[in-house]
């Protein structure tokens, strides 16, 4: 079992094989595979995970932006990161449910977990979850959230589909310098685009398991009945994205995602 934040069914981390640092033992292995350097883990790093506790009461400001969520009451695993896999429950500690309604006050941020969107029976009225990453340096992200010819501002497009079961969680991970985003960066972004949909901080770039930090925009659709990953888009693919959303919200009907 590999140590994997999103895919590990449990809390334990396999110890990595210890190899002599940069010398491969077999010439044949060297010729065929090259020499991958596997360092020895520092003492204590592998043990720390056994003390993982998602109920740490350390005060909101002391928490990292993302922590593992509980699997109780959540879609059963195994969990993965590819299309068709069940996405693991992860909690983001700094999320605005509605930035504009909160007047962009960071004190109104709260913890939101992917499990909050899990709706196997349809009781919550949720059909699909859109996970969207945002970086301040990303011009195409700005175009997405600002709106264009075919689609209005992202926030408006998402809200327009709320009644039919679309939910979203946008996550900022980089500032305009490519450094981890802060809540101040989030406030600037949210106020610029007058966001009214959930917006959270992912300073640890937990979403890096699905995409790359330098490839944006990134959007991922999750079936909230099973928490399975439906599809992912890298780049400005607004038309394809909303066509698929429409397909999920109106199964069996012809798709016409763009506005008139």
């Amino acid at each position: 079992m590999q140590g994997a934040f999103w895919a590990a069914p449990g809390c334990c981390v396999n110890l990595q094989r210890v190899m002599s640092s940069r010398i491969c033992s077999a010439l044949g292995l060297l010729v065929v595979a090259g020499c991958s350097r596997d360092p020895e883990l520092p003492p204590g790093l592998d043990d720390a995970v056994t003390n993982a506790n998602t109920d740490v009461d350390a005060g909101l400001l002391d928490l990292p932006s993302v922590i593992l969520g509980s699997s109780q009451g959540y879609a059963p695993g195994p969990y993965g990161i590819e299309d068709g896999d069940v996405i693991r429950n992860v909690c983001f500690n700094y999320v605005w449910p509605d930035p504009r309604a909160a007047d962009y006050d960071t004190r109104a941020m709260q913890r939101t977990c992917l499990g909050d969107f899990y709706d196997p029976d349809g009781e919550k009225g949720i059909r699909v979850l859109l996970l969207s990453t945002v970086a301040e340096w990303c011009g195409a992200c700005r175009a997405e959230w600002g709106g264009g010819a075919q689609f209005g501002p992202f926030s408006d497009e998402i809200l327009a589909r709320h009644e039919r079961g679309l939910r979203s969680l946008a996550l900022m991970y980089h500032d305009d310098q490519g450094d981890p985003a802060t809540r101040t960066d989030m406030r600037e972004w949210a106020s610029t685009y007058e966001m009214e949909v959930p917006f959270g901080l992912d300073a640890e770039f937990a979403m890096g398991s699905f995409s790359r930090a330098d490839l944006q925009p990134f959007n991922m659709l999750v079936d909230t009945r099973t928490m399975r990953i439906l599809e992912r888009w890298v780049g400005a693919q607004t038309d394809k994205l909303f066509a698929r959303i429409e397909q999920e919200l109106n199964p069996g009907e012809p798709v016409d995602a763009g506005r008139d």
Binding site: P42, G44, A143, E204, G208, S209, L215, A243, Q247
Partner: protein
């Protein structure tokens, strides 16, 4: 197309150094001492051949692009490769046969554990215990990200990249295997080797051409079909394009025999990063005197998209065009025009996109000492034929495409953002004046309106809300000496790209300035004494980009100085960038010894700035490089 920082057009750090370096390299090699190997035509029946071998040994160190939390900015550090490319060709009369074997051995590279530990060290400042649960969670996140990245990178391979057998007669030729192809001026199909972009996509299949000749009439027909075959390894980044049985069903599997396969890395399920596209097409040309009428068509047949977008998600794309070429239009003039249509066939349950079209014309007229050239384009929903690659896992190949619609702009332009060239109208007028036989000066004015540059607009909806208005102006001067004793060229210009509507300015308020640039390009070649010659080459820019660029204007530049003496070449390069997101200065040097006119050994050491390199609208994003490499080029 996708890439960093600005959806399509990538980082605003054009890798002009690479283009300059390559140009300097080739020019000096060209103009230096050349003991030419003029080969006489082979005797009938005699077999002639050549063997070309290129070997590169390289080690890359930290390229100073590290970002906290970004595994990709760590995985391109501290790795090395030995890359060998062996090409063998033989010819007997009209028959020719050839093959190329590519081998890459990554003798060292980071592991996902190493990447995760380094990412953790950057976050914490050290790797001293105790470690918290958050540290462990962070380590796991980065390790998984690293494993995902390495699953398509640094995998040693040996594979037959190209092979062919062909017959080349006067009026008939046929090729089975790999071949380059261009139909028209690039709208329908353009498969050419482009060294500046490290690209050499061929069609692996069959091509037949036949010509009927009359007194003043010539008729030529071409049919081709096969599987599109890009290079599978990007030696600059170590990234791999791999296939498996799932994307090479039936006969496709035979054509992809020996090609790199995905490997399993640390528990991740191997998945392909390329789903090969198939293509059938043809061309009919009728030439009457010097006028040529052409009709060309190509159909790209696709598999389910590895990265869904407007182009890759199509089941099939049919592109056709008609062209008129009049190379001698009254005295010294010429005319070329082409009209193309493009239909994307969607998967079931998806609406059929509207048909796209493209109109292009290039006209030149000469009345000494004046020469005027006009290029015009009018494109609606006309897309680049992007290869079906997994753009998230093999981003270095995300701009791979099979056609090249003309841009009408200078070949180096890298500021056509997003889908600029898919929904655009405009053109360029160029006026040159010659002062004597070896001196000329010119100006050009380009004006364009694009509706797919400041936002995604695959349907090409025309409106003020998504319109960009672009002006591109420049003036040039060039002179050459007798017997090529010297050559001096200068271009100074600017580009202004504004939207019709205002949009939020990241620096505050609102703005309509989308992109602005002023620049200076120069090339000076000067023979000094005997075999000693000097070359200077540079490109200096002031950029301002409202979305995706640095806050405020930035300055970028490249300068290279080369000295050739006989068979020796020494070149020193400097690059700078005031963008706070990148290092300020890059230095590099090249030392080359020519064994003969085609064989040489070259040592490069230093730093190269990364970024976008574009050649006639086809672009490639390069990661920065720091390290050393030695190249050996041999031709026997």
């Amino acid at each position: 197309m996708i890439r960093v920082r600005w959806g399509l057009a990538a980082s605003r750090v054009p890798a002009t150094g690479r283009l300059l370096g390559t140009t300097l390299f080739l020019l000096l090699a060209c103009c230096g001492t050349a003991r030419g190997q003029q080969q006489a035509p082979p005797e009938p029946g005699r077999v002639s051949g050549s063997v070309n071998n290129f070997t590169r040994a390289q080690y890359s160190v930290d390229n100073r692009n590290t970002r906290v939390g970004s595994v990709n900015s760590l995985s391109d550090d501290d790795w090395g490769l030995i890359h060998n490319r062996l090409s063998v060709q033989a010819r007997q009369d009209a028959w020719r046969v050839g093959a190329r074997i590519d081998g890459v051995w990554f003798y060292t590279h980071p592991s996902s554990s190493e990447l995760a530990l380094e990412a953790l060290r950057l976050r914490r400042g050290d790797l001293q215990p105790p470690f918290s649960a958050q540290d462990t969670a962070y380590y796991e996140l980065r390790q998984q990200e690293g494993a995902r990245d390495l699953s398509t990178r640094y995998r040693s391979v040996l594979y037959p990249s190209k092979y062919y057998v062909g017959y080349e007669g006067r009026d008939f030729d046929a090729t089975i295997g790999d071949f380059n192809a261009q139909l028209g001026r690039g709208f329908v199909l353009s498969l050419r080797r482009q060294d500046e972009l490290q690209s050499d996509t061929t069609l692996r299949g069959a091509r037949v051409s036949g010509t009927l000749r009359g007194r003043a009439l010539r008729l030529r027909a071409t049919a081709l079909g096969g599987v599109l075959n890009p290079l599978r390894v990007d030696a600059g980044s170590g990234r791999l394009l791999s296939v498996n049985r799932g994307v090479t069903p039936g006969p496709l599997g035979a054509l992809d025999w020996g090609m790199p396969r995905p490997g399993q890395v640390e528990g991740l399920e191997p998945a392909p990063t390329l789903a090969p596209d198939r293509l059938v097409g043809g061309q009919l040309e009728v030439q009457l005197d010097t006028v040529t009428l052409g009709v060309q068509t190509a159909r790209v047949i696709r598999q389910p998209a590895l990265s869904p977008d407007s182009v890759r998600s199509a089941k099939a794309i049919q592109t056709s065009s008609a062209s008129l070429d009049v190379p001698e239009l009254w005295r010294g003039g010429s005319l070329y025009t082409e009209a193309a249509m493009q239909q994307r066939q969607s998967a079931a349950a998806e609406p059929t996109p509207e048909t796209g079209y493209a109109l292009y014309a290039a006209l030149s007229a000469q009345q000494r000492p004046w020469l005027i050239g006009v290029e015009f384009k009018h494109y609606r929903r006309f897309f680049p034929l992007l290869a079906n690659v997994d753009a998230a896992r093999a981003a270095e190949f995300s701009t791979l495409q099979y056609n090249a619609p003309p841009t009408t702009e200078a070949h180096w332009v890298d500021s056509e953002f997003e889908g600029h060239n898919t929904c655009v109208s405009g053109g360029r007028v160029k006026l040159d004046h010659t002062f004597g036989p070896r001196r000329s000066a010119g100006v050009w004015v380009g004006h364009y309106r694009s509706w797919a540059e400041s936002g995604s607009n695959p349907d090409c909806r025309i409106g003020a809300s998504n319109e960009n208005v672009i002006w591109d102006l420049a003036s040039s001067f060039e002179q050459t000496g007798r017997a090529s004793a010297y050559r001096h060229s200068f271009v100074i210009g600017g580009r202004l790209d504004q939207t019709r509507h205002s949009f939020p300015d990241p620096r505050g308020g609102r703005t309509r300035l989308f992109y602005g640039e002023t620049y200076l390009r120069y090339g000076v070649t000067q023979r000094l004494l005997g075999q000693l010659s000097l070359q200077l080459q540079g490109w200096h820019r002031r950029l301002l980009q409202a979305q995706g660029g640095s806050t405020g204007p930035s300055y970028q530049g490249d300068h290279a100085t080369g000295v050739r003496f006989g068979q020796w070449l020494l070149a020193l390069g400097t690059q700078y960038d005031s963008d706070p997101r990148t290092p300020d200065l890059y230095l590099n040097g090249l030392l080359q010894y020519d064994l003969d006119s085609v064989s040489n050994v070259a040592l490069f050491a230093g730093q190269e700035r990364g970024g976008l390199v574009c050649v006639n609208g086809v672009c490639r994003d390069y990661a920065p490089f720091e390290g050393a490499r030695i190249d050996l080029t041999l031709q026997l």
